[in-house]
Each structure stands twice: as C-alpha cells, then as structure tokens.
C-alpha cells in the first residue's frame, strides 16, 4: 500500500524536481483521487499529514528519483520490505545499461532501447501492461522513453561499496524470489518488474539468476499449458505485424525478459571482469590469476546465458 503511495510521490516529485512540498502533496492527493488504479483503501488511509512526512523523508535523501528503486506491495517479507526501503535511497552506480523499466503511473513499461541498434523493430517497440490489469501485455510501437527521463531505471547490481547491502544474504533474496511466485497463473509484467528490482538491489546477481531462470522456465511451461503451444508466436513474426493493432503477447514476454536477463548477465560479468582487472592493475593479483579468474567468470556467465536461452 505504502509502496504505491511512494511510487506516486516518486513520479510526481521527479517530474517536478523544483516543486515545493505543498505542491507535490497536492498533486499526489489529486492523483490518488483521480486514478482508477489506486484502491479505495489507499484513498482512505492517506492523509495530508502522512503525505507530508513521506515527502519530507524522501526529500531529505537528496537523490534524484531515477536513482531509486521503487517498492512494490508484492514484496511480502516485512524484513525485506524494510531493507528494500533502505536500499531505495542508495545511489546506483553509473550505468548505461538497458533495457529500461519505467512507469507513467498508469502502466509499467518494459522497453528495449539502444542496446539493440541493429534491431529497429525491437528498439521502437515497447511492451507495456496496465497496472490495473497487469496480465494484459501489449506490444506497442511508440517512441521509447528517453534514457534521461526521470522515470527510467538503469538495471544493474548495486556496487559492493554499498556496504549496507551486505546484510541481505543471497539466501534471503533467493527464498523471497522463489517463494513469491506461486505460478498458479502466468507472471505479469509487474511480476517481472519486481524480480528485476530484487536482482537490481542485490550484490549477488549471479546467484539469483539461476532461480529466476527456473521461474521463467516454469512460467513458459504454464503459458503453454494455459494457452496451448500452437499459439506460440516467435518474436520475429511479431515484428512484422502491423504496429497499429495492439497484440497480446502470451509467449513473447518470457522470451523477451530472458533476453533482457542475458544482457544483465553480460553486464554483471563485465563488472566482475572489471573488478579483477583493477586488482591486477593495482598489483593485488598476478597476470595469470587475472586471466584465470576472468576466464572462470566468462564460463559462469555463459552457463547462465545458456539457462536463459
């Protein structure tokens, strides 16, 4: 509940970086009152005083919204929720990594961008899902969000220097991810959004990815069972369809997400290679050790990529 409130505040604050607290509060209340996806429960509990406190807290962090990770109500473990909240205000190291996930308040978007310069079709395509009906996934040919818009989130692991993260163990996160999705129904884009958020806040990306791979695999099986494998549509076919008519993507989404996770794996591998390279330059390890370690990382990354392929 609070997470949706936070999200609304984040969005409005980021769109109006110079606005006063009063103006933001007013805009937040207006949004809560007017948007369909905000539940009546939230409307009842949100009071101006409470809003003031939240906005004040967020303001005190002095970080641009785009560097925060949104909290979602689906993170059910209380301890983790608290931890995630703390992490929300930790800066994420510079990264040009994409795909991008963003929300305009009504929909969650999962979009590819300049990572695929050779694929104009993919680059100009955005997958979105209404928050009110997250399973209805729509492929739209609309302009991509600008990388610099305040709502875009670069996806990557947080640097090890954020020592506050160390208290979250991989086991915590693995249990949380694996236990959260019962998979009685297909994953929604919103679910992916949460998974990615968890990966993003973790410094144990490589250990989380096999679990995610398993979840995605289960999801694909479930989709085949529910929708029938005959209706499976290859992404390449979808690219060729008229872009004016929204297309439901029952099978495309998991494969699309898998591809995105592969990009994340490569990004993480690159980060690890860079760290070892730095140790070599700083004379902490020998050249042979540098080669050995980075080769092992490459083999690990390839194994993970294979799981998502």
């Amino acid at each position: 509940m609070e997470s949706i409130l936070d999200k609304i505040i984040f969005d409005i604050a980021s769109e109006n970086p110079t606005a006063s607290m009063d103006v933001i509060a007013e805009a937040v209340i207006h949004t809560i009152e007017s948007e369909d996806f905000v539940s009546n429960t939230i409307r009842k509990v949100v009071t101006p005083n409470k809003l003031d406190v939240r906005i004040s807290e967020l303001r005190s962090k002095r970080l641009p919204t785009k560097q925060r990770i949104r909290i979602t109500e689906r993170v059910t473990d209380t301890r983790l929720v608290e931890r995630v909240k703390e992490m929300c205000v930790l800066p994420i190291e510079h990264s040009s990594f994409n795909p991008l996930i963003h929300t305009d308040g009504a929909k969650v978007y999962f979009a590819s961008s300049d990572n695929y310069p050779d694929s104009p079709a993919l680059a100009s395509t955005t997958i979105s899902a209404p928050l009110s009906s997250p399973h209805r996934v729509i492929l739209e040919s609309i302009p991509l969000p600008d990388n610099n818009t305040t709502t875009s989130i670069p996806l990557r692991g947080i640097t090890d220097r954020n020592t506050e993260l160390n208290s979250v163990t991989p086991a915590d996160l693995l249990n949380d991810i694996d236990g959260k999705f019962d998979q009685s129904e297909p994953l929604s884009l919103y679910d992916f959004y949460q998974m990615i958020s968890l990966v993003k806040i973790s410094r144990h990306v490589m250990r989380l990815l096999p679990v995610i791979s398993k979840i995605l695999s289960r999801d694909l099986e479930l989709r085949k069972k529910l929708y029938g494998s005959d209706s499976f549509e290859e992404p390449s076919d979808l690219y060729n369809k008229p872009s004016t008519e929204p297309t439901e993507l029952r099978f495309f989404l998991p494969s699309y997400i898998c591809e995105s996770f592969m990009t994340l794996i490569i990004h993480e591998y690159g980060r690890l290679h860079e760290e070892v390279g730095r140790s070599f330059i700083d004379r902490e390890i020998s050249y042979e050790s540098y080669l050995r370690q980075t080769e092992r990382y490459a083999l690990d990354a390839d194994r993970l990529v294979s799981e998502f392929r």
Binding site: I281, L291, L299
Partner: protein
C-alpha cells in the same frame, strides 16, 4: 537484431568482434577523459590483447560472452597502459639526467605498418623462396626480396616514434641502434631537415653519435648478401653486430659512460644482439634499463613499460 547468443562455432574468426569492440572502447576512452584518436594505436593493441584472451575454453562460448570478454580485456589493457605514470615519470627523468641509447626493433616500424616476421613470410613466398635458408642461398631470390621489401617500405611513412627519436638525437638520444631494414629514421630526419650519420656497414667509424643498422638497409641493396657489407640478417638468424660498433664503444668510452638504455619494440630473441649489445649495455656496468613493448603480463615489472612505441615515447621524450 540483438547479438546472436547461439553457441559459437570454434572456427568463427574473432575479427568479427573488432568493429563493435572498437566502438565501445572509443566511447569508454572518451568517458574517462582521453581522446580516442590519440589512443588509437593503444586501442588496436588492446583489441589484439582482448582477442588473445580468447582461449580454447572460451572460444566455444556464446558470441555475446566472447565479445564482452574481448571488450573487458581490452579495457583492462588500456587502463593498464594509462596506469604507468610512475614508470613514465622515472624513465623520463632518467633520460633527462643521463641521456639515452635506444635499441629499436621491428615493433617501432610496425606502427608505420611495416610487416613483422610473421607477415614477412608472405613476402618470402612471393619471392618464391621456400624458407629463409632457401632465400639466402639463392642470390636472385634474396636480391628480389630486398627490392620487394624496399617497395613496401617506400610506401610507408615515419611514425611518431621515428620522428621523436630523431628530434631528440643526439641531445637526449646519444645513439640509435636500429635492427630494421627500412629507412624510416632517415626519412624522419629528412622531414626535419636534419642530417644524421648512418653506419650501415662494418667499417671504421669516425665521429660520434650515429644511427646503427647492423641487419641491413633498404638504402644499401647489394647483389650478394654478406653481413656487415650490405648483407641483410633474416628472422631465422641469431642477429649480427658490427665489430666496428664494439670498437666504437671502446674508442669513444660509450662503454663506460652512464646513460639510460631503452629497448623498444624488440623481442630479444637474437643471441648475438643480447650477448654483444644488451648484456654489456644493461649490466656492465649496470645501467638504468627500460623495455617498451606490448606484453601485459609484464605490467608489474618496474622497468617494463606496456604500450605502443608511439604512445610511450610521447610520455618519455620532450618535443612531441
């Protein structure tokens, strides 16, 4: 389309990764505050290092992993080169204090795009020689090889290394020992309207401060191939040093003078060069000696500077 993530064929050439990796490297260099154009030779060397990092175990992995490995290894290489400021500073100071003697190998001319021994093989075959021994034993083939090499050499232009060394000769660079056949140092001197004394035959030497060419010279192509009399020394041989050079080091007392000895772009595999030049100049008496080359595994060696000749010499010598 996104990069193919299907298993890589072991036979796929790594060359296909060069263009995308180079683009990413250039962007990275600009991000860390350097000019990509200035570091272009380093980028090329870094990509080669990246390709070398693709061992047999890695070669069969997904292309997306291979590309990232080449890129990251190349980034490490570039950052390694740029991290050597302490070495540059000390070496520069030693050259400033004691002047220097340079021993230049094929690596210096490589940056002018002259062939190294591996690609010289093609020129050898072009001259219908089956081996270097075959080439040497057949006067006609040998002569033709020299002429063909001269044609290749004439198409090239002196690199920044050639120009810098000549510019600092003989004030900071007392002697240049060049083991290459090309005339790029001489042409660099012409460009600077400088006259340098060249010793390309084993004859009595007068005067001081010379460019030494023990292994042959495109400006001196004779019908026969006698070492020290215009003959060329080929890659399968153990090198050759003029007796007149040994005598010169005694007569001029160079042998006993302090100077900084720099070995650049040379693999030190020729026994005669090591025994008659490198060992005495480096160790008898012990002199500050630096080696400049591309071997990343020697980064931690305090007297080995990793990098291309052009880039490193710009850090060491005044006037660039």
């Amino acid at each position: 389309m996104p990069i193919d993530s299907s298993p890589n064929s072991a036979s796929t050439s790594l060359d296909i990764y060069e263009v995308p990796v180079k683009k990413k490297l250039e962007a990275h260099i600009v991000r860390v505050g350097y000019s990509a154009a200035q570091l272009n030779p380093i980028i090329d060397a870094a990509i080669q290092e990246g390709k070398r990092s693709i061992t047999d175990a890695v070669r069969s992995l997904s292309p997306i992993v291979i590309r990232e490995r080449i890129y990251r290894s190349a980034v490490t290489y570039i950052e390694s080169v740029l991290s050597q400021t302490k070495k540059w500073n000390l070496c520069r100071e030693l050259i400033r204090n004691y002047s220097s003697v340079f021993l230049a190998g094929a690596g210096v001319s490589f940056e002018s795009e002259l062939p190294l021994s591996d690609t010289l093989e093609y020129l050898k075959r072009f001259c219908k020689a089956t081996s270097w021994i075959d080439l040497r034993s057949d006067i006609s083939k040998c002569h033709n090889f020299k002429l063909q090499f001269k044609i290749v050499s004439d198409r090239k232009v002196p690199s920044a290394s050639h120009k810098l060394l000549i510019k600092n000769f003989p004030s900071k660079v007392l002697e240049i020992i060049c083991l290459n056949w090309d005339d790029l140092f001489e042409r660099a001197a012409n460009l600077q309207k400088r006259t340098i004394s060249k010793q390309n035959q084993n004859t009595t030497v007068t005067g001081m401060r010379h460019l030494w060419k023990f292994h042959g010279d495109v400006a001196l192509i004779t019908n026969d191939n006698v070492a020290g009399q215009g003959g060329w020394i080929f890659p399968d041989q153990d090198g050759y040093v003029f007796d007149s050079f040994i005598q010169y080091t005694v007569n001029t007392n160079l042998k006993n003078e302090p100077f900084t000895f720099i070995i650049i772009g040379y693999n030190e595999k020729e026994q005669a060069i090591y025994d008659k030049i490198i060992r005495p100049l480096e160790l008898s008496p012990p002199r500050p000696t630096y080696r400049i080359g591309l071997q990343l595994d020697k980064l931690h060696d305090q007297t080995y500077i990793v990098g291309t000749s052009d880039f490193v010499l710009k850090q060491l010598l005044p006037g660039n």
